[in-house]
């Protein structure tokens, strides 16, 4: 390398650090430092330009752009989905409530329907064995009803034996009913004098 070349490189380096170099000059510097024959003044910069050259040699893998585009499209779709969910969120709440109500209704319906079915395990498989218990149940029920009937009849017989003057009691009841009717009429009709109430009171006192 000549002294002139050496100075030229020094000038380019100074311009480079001052960020004044053109693209062609930067390429010239990179080419220079890629070569093995370096002056002593340029050696400290060799690793730096070597690093620059290495980094520039790194290229994107095949189909990178397509993959990037695809990923971006996916991201866009996802954001669209999120917007869709946000739009339909109130509707989803309504749908969830409806589903809950329908589910509850169905549960109650089936439980109520089950209520009509026997809620137990049959004791017998053989109807001839079951008939004894079934008839026992009906007999007990029948006995209870007959006992009540007999008790009622006995009460009536006891009352009959008391020798009560039923006609006198009936007439008293009839008089009271008639007096009550008169009283009711006097309350309904303003034209009836207050004197009409007096017999009612007396009649009740007599009773």
């Amino acid at each position: 390398m000549t002294a002139k070349d050496d100075r030229h490189i020094q000038t380019l380096l100074e311009r480079y650090w001052d960020c004044e170099t053109t693209l062609a000059e930067e390429q010239e510097l990179r080419d220079f430092f890629r070569g093995g024959d370096l002056p002593a003044a340029g050696k400290p910069y060799a690793p730096y330009f070597s690093y620059i050259n290495e980094e520039r040699s790194v290229t994107l893998s095949e189909g990178f752009n397509e993959r990037l585009k695809e990923a971006m499209d996916k991201e866009e779709d996802r954001s669209k989905q999120y917007i869709t969910i946000r739009i339909f969120a109130p509707l989803l709440r309504v749908a969830a409530s409806l589903l809950l109500i329908v589910g509850l209704g169905a549960s109650i319906f089936f439980i109520t329907r089950q209520n009509n079915k026997p809620w137990f395990v049959e004791t017998y498989d053989d109807p001839n064995a079951a008939i004894k218990d079934a008839t026992y149940a009906l007999e007990a029920l029948s006995h209870a009803l007959q006992t009540t009937e007999e008790a009622s009849l006995q009460t009536i017989r006891v009352i009959d034996d008391l020798d009560i003057d039923w006609s006198a009691i009936d007439s008293l009841v009839t008089d009271e009913v008639e007096a009550d009717s008169l009283a009711a009429l006097s309350q309904d009709d303003d034209t009836v004098s207050r004197g009409a109430l007096i017999p009612t009171v007396k009649m009740k006192e007599n009773i």
Partner: protein, 174 residues
Amino acid sequence: MRKTILIITIMLTSVSLFANGFVTQFINKYGEEDRPLNNVNIGKTMLDKMAANTEDEELRSAFKELKSIRIVSSEDAKDSRYYFQKANELIKEEFGDYEEVVSVNERNSRISVWMKREDDKKQDLILISLDENSKLSIITVSGKIDLKSISRLSGTLKNESAAPEEKAGEPGSR
């Protein structure tokens, strides 16, 4: 949301509890291992079979109309008195929609019959009795119940009926 789930659970539990009949509730609530109870359950299928098997016309028509007969009894006098009291408590506390149709309080026996009428074809009847030997019988009958025709059955049934025997090991018995 937790409150809603809790309310729904309580509602469903109460509905399903209510769905159990008197006998089931009685056994679940008061049945004790050291106070054994006999339990006999006869469902609609068996009642239909029995109706087909019997020759007595009145009994056949009674069986046909019924949906279930369940019997709970106790052999021990002391246990019977205990369970009789509990059965009466249960019917008053949990079965308020039943009406007392018959009540007999004699020196040696006590009988009360309770009934719920849902419609013409569905009535539920509960009989709780403590007989002269202090033995408990709880009988529930469900279906179309004609008290007049059941009352007339007594003479017909006397030859066939017998107190339920102990059904140890039978399904549904305790």
